[in-house]
């Protein structure tokens, strides 16, 4: 069983999507489409009837909500139905004060214990109603910057373990260029798959590691058009690329 990413050709590349219950790292530099993958993955989940938990360290839940509403008119509806929960680790640090019944605020990215407890709390509510759900963690980089990769590794060991146990398909993001290679490897070690993105000269490319069966593991060109990611590189017959 596969969780669609919501990006057509990426799903094709993944032979349908990410296997349920797996956790995937999206590893990309800023501004080349990481956000789009995250948002599409969330919306695709909601469309399939899977509730979504957002853990946000770099933007407020208000921003995230606005961006998602822009992509999908029915997002507000999903939220009203109680299918969306935010764990907002950003707003308190910049003293944003807007409240919502769907959000849990965490005062600081250092407070990993509260983050893990809040995720679990949200999951408990979801698994009563739904067999599957998705967790989106954007981003691990902030956590690492505030302490270190080893501490975040231990945190992830616990969180990804719980996600697995409770049947969540989860997406974690990390910013390329912010971390030492060893830190990246440490985190990758805990993942079932990685979607890696890069800028090669004027070309944008992505490749998939892990994630069950895929058609190709090569770097594949893509285009960024407004709010869409379009895979333009061929992967059906990889030797052509």
């Amino acid at each position: 069983m596969l969780a669609k990413t919501g990006i057509d050709r990426l799903d094709e590349l993944l032979k349908g999507g990410v296997p349920y219950g797996e956790n995937v790292l999206v590893y990309a530099p800023p501004f080349i489409g990481r956000d789009i993958i995250i948002k599409r993955f969330a919306l695709s989940g909601l469309t399939e009837g899977e509730p979504v938990i957002f853990v946000l360290t770099d933007k407020s839940f208000i921003e995230m909500r606005k961006e998602l509403e822009k992509l999908d008119k029915s997002f507000a509806e999903f939220e009203r139905e109680g299918k969306v929960k935010y764990i907002d680790v950003y707003s308190p640090s910049v003293e944003l004060k807007e409240e919502s019944p769907y959000v849990t605020f965490i005062d600081s990215p250092v407070n990993r214990e509260r983050i893990s407890a809040a995720i679990l709390q949200a999951q408990r509510e979801f698994i009563e109603k739904s067999e599957r759900h998705r967790v989106i963690f954007d981003s691990l980089s902030t956590l690492i910057v505030y302490s270190d990769a080893k501490a975040v590794f231990r945190f992830l060991q616990v969180v990804s373990g719980t996600c697995k146990r409770l049947g969540a398909t989860s997406l974690f993001s990390m910013t390329r260029g912010m971390h030492e290679e060893i830190e990246v490897q440490t985190i990758k070690h805990l993942m079932d798959g990685v979607v890696e993105m890069r800028e090669e000269g004027a070309r944008l490319q992505l490749r998939v590691q892990g994630c069950g069966e895929v058609i190709s593991r090569n770097w594949i060109d893509y285009l960024l058009e407004k709010d869409e990611i379009k895979l333009t590189g061929a992967f059906r017959m990889s030797r052509v690329a």
């Binding site: 600081s108 250092v110 407070n111 990993r112 214990e113 408990r124 505030y146 302490s147 616990v158």
Partner: protein, 392 residues
């Protein structure tokens, strides 16, 4: 002795934490970390003790908010609380506190700040750390633990007490081993296995000065309120019209009635808050057809109240059967109700008719007036706390 104020824990500790000792709350990372420490902190602030709260994972402002969530006011303790700020420098924010850890990645800097704070506080300070794990992560595990050992020595010299919250992330075995060695007492805090939706439990696993280890106590954290011992299920059984509903109603702080024309037609639910305990009560109607429900609930209950009408000897045979069906070595208390009416049976008569010995206490009540109701609860929870079923 320094009390933790956590229900039952002080008893297990043999009265509390002796001066000069340290105690670690070793907390499963899926459980929110700082609650036990902050409960202990507040308990001692209330008693007028001098306390130092070492904050390393949230801002002093947030600490004050957390106090508010619990229903406490931090300003009240201006004279006996020092907030030692190890957080603001970490995120590059200015600190308004007098004692600041200037270099939060260096355990020596923690030591300096703590030393200053100890010297400034009059006597026998109680030092609570909001997150030892965070200090370990920031300062390096080995360095941090060496520093903590020195800090504990210093606290010991001043006849103070050190209390640490520690989120037990999957650290290396050697680190965990060392941690277990350097603290005088360790209280493990874990989610309740198999019933992870219910609550948490604490288990003292090491007490160097003697006390009771190995027993677990279930608790929940209430905001407002703090920490309470939690008993997920007590069932109330008894013959029809014995006064079960009245008993539950008079004991409960929150109650959901389900009666039609004076008879209870379904399982009713009440929540009791009493003496550091919170328990959920489930009243099972006396009619025959509820027997299967009773047997089923009896299997997972922690305690039973058998409510009887003490003026109706002929009903006791039925009560005896109910008890036999529901009870699987679960602690039980007989509530001999309607003591205000004529012709109440004596304790001996009740025992004989129910076929129970001295191990089952009988408490006399007048549920309509609330007489004896709280006493019955206390007797039962004490029995539950001592029982094999409760301690996992």
């Amino acid at each position: 002795m320094i009390e933790t104020g956590i229900p039952k824990l002080d008893e297990y500790l043999g009265g509390g934490i002796p001066e000069g000792k340290s105690l670690l709350f070793c907390i499963d990372p899926t459980v929110e970390e700082s609650n036990l420490g902050i409960h202990t902190l507040h308990h001692n602030l209330e008693k007028g003790r001098n306390c130092i709260y070492v904050v390393s994972k949230s801002s002093p402002k947030q600490v004050s908010k957390t106090f508010e969530e619990f229903g406490w006011r931090m300003e009240k303790y201006r004279d006996n609380l020092i907030l030692l700020d190890g957080y603001s420098p970490l995120v590059g924010a200015p600190s308004e506190e007098k004692y600041v850890v200037l270099e939060p990645h260096d355990i020596l800097s923690y030591e300096d700040a703590i030393q200053d704070a100890i010297e400034a506080s009059p006597n026998r300070p109680i030092i609570v750390f909001d997150s030892l794990s965070n200090i370990l992560d920031l300062c390096g595990e080995r360095d941090a633990l060496q520093g903590i050992t020195r800090i504990n020595d210093e606290i010991g010299k001043r006849e103070g007490v050190g209390i640490y919250n520690f989120a037990a992330w999957p650290y290396k075995e050697s680190i965990l081993y060392r941690i277990k060695r350097i603290f005088d007492a360790i209280i493990d805090v874990t989610p309740i296995p198999g019933a992870m939706f219910v609550g948490q439990k604490y288990t003292p696993s090491k007490i160097s000065w003697g006390g009771k280890t190995g027993k677990s106590v279930m608790f929940k954290v209430y905001k407002p309120g703090g920490i309470r011992i939690y008993i997920p299920k007590i069932i109330i059984i008894g013959p029809f019209q014995a006064g079960k509903t009245t008993f539950i109603r008079s004991l409960s702080t929150r109650f959901t009635p389900v009666d039609r024309l004076g008879a209870t037609v379904s399982v009713e639910h009440g929540i009791v808050d009493c003496k550091g305990y919170r328990a959920e009560l489930f009243g099972i109607p006396g009619q025959e057809r509820f027997l299967p429900i009773m047997e089923k609930m009896g299997k997972t209950a922690f305690g039973i109240f058998l409510v009887i009408d003490a003026t109706k000897p002929h009903e006791l045979e039925h009560a005896r059967q109910l008890l036999r069906n529901a009870r699987n070595n679960i602690p039980c208390v007989i509530v001999a109700n309607k003591q205000d009416l004529q012709g109440v049976l004596s304790e001996e008569e009740i025992r004989e008719r129910l076929g129970v010995g001295e191990e089952v206490p009988i408490v006399k009540t007048i549920a309509t007036q609330g007489t004896g109701v709280k006493e019955a609860f206390e007797v039962l929870v004490n029995k539950i706390m001592d029982s094999e079923v409760y301690v996992g």
